[in-house]
Symmetry: C2
Subunit: 212 residues, 2 copies
């Protein structure tokens, strides 16, 4: 916890973590913005898979990984999607180069023998206890959504996350077999200079940070 | 949505987003790992503030920003914290160079005039409707936790997020005035070569991705 003259020599850290340079921090955080419109440049299925294959590595509770993604690419599917979105989100979602519907899998525990083999009693516990299972699915789904938004940016795209939609209607339309619960829609593409609105304030440290 | 010969010329994108280089992607995602032990190198309060000042910029629903953080630095406070953590998390949390308790603020709506000035009816709505307010606090808190974990890595540290603790007891100990609900504890420091366990599998695309 402290540096002392008696401390053992520290082994060389693994490659990474290393502080990212300012350009990378700007791309991820300090200069990044939610995009409302995009340049007319397609986003390929391979690029969307790469975004997933970045985000998937970030940690979840006991490696649960409950987040799922539906990429809505065809014109027909895009129209069926926006029918259940709020008015202000329809046009930009129809026009976005790519659209991801993020969901959590309420039945994620069926994959526990693969994801979490060391906790052998857990599949049965979650099968019999729906409330903690749905809590884990929902909380870790949102956690992974945070990773996903930053993976979009890390892969060189702008993200436009939106919560204004009828989740139950989208689930009925796209996930009729049940199990997946949509919770965030994310437009993805290359931004232009006029893709962004003014930035809203962030709270001051005195309102959000404490020390003990 | 598609590239056509008739498309208008695209304005130059803003600085960023640009795809990060492979070293940065390794630091954030592909090579990053949850750390269980750390090198004996202190993490300063200024470094912890920088982590916050990265994570705070990533987007939340209508800019709600409900996540709060308690940094537990003193020996006395660290001992009071681990008293409410599961056995397997006590020793590593006592020894970690820095510890962050992530919480969501159930009263985040009191800051809406600052964070979300364009939705003038929302403070009253949330004051009168606790269920959607607590949903927004919880969901966006977990979303911001995803940003926080990646901000720890982007700032050059390793993160050790843990869910094994008695949230109500920690809230009573550290947030006696009410309002903040702890949901994740994150150890922070510089890793050593033996900080990591074996990596657990990630789910295959066929289990997690769909296309429409």
């Amino acid at each position: 916890m402290t540096n002392t003259a008696e401390a053992e020599p520290v082994a060389d850290p693994l490659p990474g973590p290393r502080r990212l340079d300012d350009d990378a921090l700007a791309t991820l955080f300090t200069n990044a913005r939610t995009a409302n419109t995009f340049a007319d440049i397609a986003v390929s299925d391979a690029e969307l898979r790469e975004i997933w294959d970045l985000a998937k590595w970030a940690p979840t509770s006991a490696n649960f990984q409950p987040m799922r993604t539906l990429f809505v690419q065809s014109r027909d599917a895009r129209e069926r999607l926006v029918e259940h979105m709020s008015e202000g989100n329809k046009a930009k979602t129809l026009a976005a180069p790519a659209v991801a519907v993020l969901a959590h899998d309420r039945g994620f525990h069926e994959h526990l023998p693969v994801t979490t083999p060391h906790l052998t009693g857990l599949p049965e516990f979650f099968a019999q206890n729906e409330a903690p299972r749905l809590d884990a699915a929902r909380n870790n789904g949102w956690l992974q959504a945070g990773y996903f938004v930053l993976a979009v940016r890390a892969a060189g795209f702008a993200a436009g996350p939106m919560g204004g939609f009828d989740s139950a209607a989208i689930d009925a339309e796209f996930f009729p077999e049940g199990g997946w619960s949509s919770f965030l829609v994310v437009n993805i593409g290359h931004p232009t200079v006029d893709s962004y609105r003014g930035r809203l304030p962030r709270l001051e440290h005195e309102n959000v940070l404490r020390w003990a």
